[in-house]
């Protein structure tokens, strides 16, 4: 199912972006070819027609022409604005993920990719996704800057250590497509790629429910929660020293300095690594920092666990606490 021809000149498009990007590219190509052709024609014409015929002759002393100058400033500016506007609209669309995405967590490290499905299953250098579904990649790096690039989808995004970066796409055509690391990251940068396998939705479901034995990341996160003694402050009761985490994910939190923030992956990651910043109001700044004590993957496990905690008094999907105080209204 590898999309490849004998001598590929143009990559196949397999995402909802590809058509737009290719059309814009062809437009740029056409405009460029037109103006380059025009310029080359005038040069060649002059080169032949006005070649020196007598050794001592000079050319006709023309100094300039304001109308021409105005024209060749205005016309390129017009085309430039069209190119800018069209490109900008595609880019804004690329940078604004829709709400209903299937989220894949990605960890990049020298020199491999770990991609995690929503159910926790992990793949290495492979990504299976359903066609026709909006997919969002939430990416972290363990070490240096990497970049996830799928030429067939016409998208890429740098993966920067110290933060999460995201990208989204919707695959339109089942098949296998290469992805590459495209930010130089050291010795085996060129080996740091893999395959995205796009499947029909039914096939994808079948693949998901297949091969057992994949670790449940929320359960792994629950274990960590115990091991790192998070539970000693985040008791799940409002009397705990730390905020109640049940149902916290996705909600808005009031900070000590008056601002309000949405509790998303990036906020939880920051709280774990550098809790002195963005403290929720009503709580003391006593949480220790776990910078250097947890890996990016472990942070993703903890996030999966926190996501799975149902709101107080409600039921929720995912794992329950293995042991410790029961969830529920205080």
């Amino acid at each position: 199912m590898i999309a490849q021809s004998e001598l590929p000149l143009f990559p196949r498009g397999a995402s909802s972006f590809a058509g737009g990007v290719d059309s814009l590219f062809l437009y740029l190509l056409a405009v460029s070819a037109f103006f380059a052709g025009l310029i080359f024609l005038v040069i060649l014409y002059s080169f032949v027609k006005y070649r020196r015929r007598q050794k001592m002759e000079i050319g006709v002393p023309i100094h300039g022409n304001m109308k021409l100058e105005a024209a060749w400033i205005a016309i390129p500016s017009f085309f430039a604005l069209v190119m800018f506007g069209w490109g900008a609209s595609i880019y804004i669309n690329m940078r604004r993920a829709p709400q209903d995405t299937l989220d894949i967590y990605v960890v990049a490290k020298q020199w491999m990719w770990k991609l995690q499905q929503p159910d926790g299953r992990r793949e290495i250098n492979e990504l299976h996704i359903p066609a026709g579904r909006n997919i969002r990649l939430i990416m972290a790096s363990e070490d240096v800057i990497h970049d996830f690039f799928v030429p067939a989808f016409r998208v890429k995004q740098d993966v920067v250590p110290g933060r999460y970066t995201t990208m989204w796409f919707r695959a339109t055509r089942p098949g296998r497509y290469r992805f590459f690391c495209s930010q130089y990251c050291g010795t085996n940068h060129a080996a740091m790629g893999g395959w995205v396998t796009v499947m029909e939705p039914a096939e994808y479901q079948a693949w998901l429910s297949g091969s057992a034995g994949e670790p449940d990341t929320a359960a792994a996160g629950a274990k960590l929660f115990q091991q790192l003694a998070c539970i000693s402050c985040h008791t799940g009761l409002s009397t705990g020293r730390g905020p109640v985490l049940n149902g916290l994910f996705g909600s808005k939190v009031q900070l000590a300095d008056g601002r309000a923030l949405v509790v998303d992956e990036a906020y939880i990651r920051q709280c774990i690594l550098d809790p002195k910043v963005n403290i929720p109001s009503g709580y003391q700044p006593i949480m220790p920092a776990f910078q250097g004590l947890v890996t990016e993957e472990q942070i993703l496990d903890l996030i999966a666990y926190i996501k799975s905690l149902p709101a107080p008094g409600g039921t929720a999907p995912g794992a329950a606490l293995p042991e410790g105080p029961r969830k529920g209204a205080p």
Binding site: S5, F10, P11, G20, V21, L24, F25, S32, A36, V42, I43, S46, F47, Y50, R51, R52, Q54, K55, M56, E57, I58, G59, V60, P61, I62, H63, G64, N65, L68, E69, A80, L81, M83, F84, W86, G87, A88, S89, I90, Y91, M94, R95, Q110, V144, F149, V155, Q157, V160, P161, G162, R163, R178, S182, Y184, G186, T187, N188, A190, A191, D274
Partner: protein
């Protein structure tokens, strides 16, 4: 052979800057801007050969998808050092330090630059920085890419990053001092009558370049210093684990390195702006627009740096601003191209080698510049960023543009510099070989880039092989195009025809001096009364037109169509 002016060629003048003093000390301790230019010529040529060798090894390695010539570590060092050597030790100094140093005092009617000893010091600083870079190369090389992105360069790389960074830091002062020298010279040492709008565009171009030297180079200096400090003393500005920000490095780095590309192209445009009017024997069309465009490129060029960072994770709104500004900076370059082409119209066009290089420049610069529009376009850049498309784009500008103009300039002013002519027929053939070889090397890379082949890859998927083989084949032809001039330039210094004072002829003050010129350039300071490239009103050049030229200063007898 090239066209002669009225005065016939004779033996070289008895005393000129080349034979005024003998001995190695007279060269190593010279303050004559012309000798310093030749010192630079030697240095930059050495690094061009070194950088070119690295490129050759890269292209040979990429003949096969699995690449067996060198190990991955070595490959990564090769492309890094190719970039560092070519950009910092060849391209950035090339035209300003060789042709700029040689010509600017003569073009404005001065005896030397404002600060000749500073000029010599600049060359020594260049060599000191070069020593550090050579040390880094010999000490195992550097593998960070010439862009030194953190935290790879500051924390993870196990190669000679600090020596390389320090070498570039030191060599940066060459740029700063040269820029300072040019700006002060152009402001304060123009001969009487040499007003700003009588200056050759070559001078305008170097003035604009010097503005970038002065404002931009210190920023790369402090940036690389911070990387070195981070490696040596564990400062944490770019280290996320210490609360630092890797993206801060990118902003600081590109704040200089984008204007740096205008440092590389503006002097080249200045050379082309001299060759085309001179070898068409008519004024440069739209002189004020070309002069203004040079300054506009220098200024706007400072505001586009983050177009290298569209997928780095910055806010989409800032990306919009930088994309728009990047389109704006393209307009003055387009204006220049149109003005050069208009200059050809109704000219008397010579087929001499400098003209071939100048026209080759326009062709290749147009391709490079238009593909820059693809990269400025946000929707397309996301796909082609960090692929071979970018590599093709910047080589079209830097090699197809800047290096061709440098070669054209060397040919154009060779008679003035050495007192000898290069062999015209061989030179024309070499120019064509260069043009063909260049296109074969780099055009396939546009296709590879859109197909998705990333940069800095020592291996690649097998479907990319055909274009890689094409590219390497082109590189071998390109190499011939460079080797030929090296051989015949050296040959010409002994066996070339003796050059007259003004072979083309040119209208600039540099052509009023003997070939080669005496150390002080002018016996007495010239007084300028004519406009630049005004062949119509220069009977002293010995040319005849379709109409007899009117007495100097009386203006054209006829009013040609389209004149303003």
């Amino acid at each position: 052979m090239s066209s002669q002016a009225a005065s016939p060629a004779s033996t070289p003048p008895p005393l000129n800057y080349l034979n005024a003093h003998y001995g190695i000390r007279s060269w190593l301790l010279t303050t004559d801007h012309k000798r310093i230019a030749l010192l630079y010529l030697a240095s930059v040529t050495f690094f061009f050969i070194l950088g070119g060798t690295f490129a050759g090894l890269i292209r040979i390695h990429l003949l096969t998808p699995r690449g067996y010539l060198v190990t991955p570590e070595t490959y990564n060092k090769l492309f890094t050092m190719h970039g560092i050597v070519m950009i910092f030790f060849f391209l950035i100094p090339s035209i300003p330090a060789v042709l700029g140093n040689f010509l600017i005092p003569m073009m404005i009617g001065a005896k030397d630059l404002a600060f000749p000893k500073l000029n010599l010091l600049s060359w020594y600083i260049y060599n000191l920085g070069a020593l550090f870079a050579l040390f880094a190369i010999i000490n195992g090389g550097v593998d960070t890419g010439w862009t030194f992105y953190t935290p790879f360069s500051s924390l993870y790389s196990n190669t000679s990053v600090a020596p390389a960074a320090i070498g570039i830091f030191i060599t940066g002062f060459t740029s700063i001092l040269t820029g300072l020298n040019f700006v002060v010279t152009i402001h304060t040492m123009r001969a009487p009558g040499m007003t700003w709008f009588r200056l050759p565009i070559f001078v305008w171009a170097h003035y604009a370049t010097s503005v970038i030297f002065i404002l931009g180079t210190p920023v790369i200096a402090i940036t690389l210093l911070l990387v070195a400090l981070e490696r040596l003393f564990h400062f944490g500005f770019f280290n996320p684990a210490l609360g630092g920000d890797p993206i801060l490095f990118q902003h600081l780095f590109w704040f200089y390195s984008h204007p740096a590309v205008y440092i590389m192209i503006l002097p080249a445009m200045g050379v082309v702006s001299e060759i085309i009017p001179t070898l068409s024997r008519k004024p440069l069309f739209g002189y004020p627009f070309v002069a203004a465009a040079s300054m506009a490129i220098a200024v706007i060029g400072f505001f586009v740096w983050a177009h290298h960072m569209f997928v780095a994770g910055q806010s989409p709104y800032s990306a919009l601003v930088f994309s728009l500004l990047s389109y704006m900076v393209a307009i003055p370059s387009a204006v220049k191209v149109f003005n050069w082409v208009a200059t050809l119209y109704k000219g008397s066009i010579s087929y001499d080698t400098p003209m071939l290089y100048a026209l080759g420049f326009i062709g290749l610069f147009v391709v490079g510049g238009l593909t820059g529009l693809f990269l400025a376009c946000l929707g397309v850049d996301v796909h082609v960023h960090d692929t071979y498309f970018v590599i093709a784009h910047f080589h079209y500008i830097m090699v197809g543009g800047a290096v061709m103009a440098y070669m054209g300039g060397l040919h154009f002013w060779w008679p003035k510099i050495t007192g000898r002519m290069y062999p015209e027929s061989v030179a024309r053939v070499a120019a064509v070989i260069l043009f063909v070889g260049f296109n074969l090397t780099f055009f396939p890379q546009f296709i590879l880039g859109y197909l998705g082949m990333p940069r800095r890859y020592h291996n690649y998927p097998p479907e990319f092989q055909v274009f890689n083989v094409m590219s390497t084949a082109g590189a071998s032809i390109l190499a011939v195009g460079y080797i030929l001039p090296m051989i015949y330039f050296i040959w010409s210094m002994r066996y070339g025809a003796v050059a007259p004072r003004n072979p083309w002829p040119g209208t600039g003050l540099e052509w009023q001096t003997p070939s080669p010129p005496p150390t002080e350039n002018f016996e007495k300071t010239p007084v300028v009364t004519w406009e630049p490239y005004d062949f119509y009103n220069r009977p002293d050049l010995g040319l005849t037109g379709p109409e007899p030229p009117s007495p100097p200063g009386s203006g054209p007898a006829l009013s040609p169509a389209g004149d303003d």
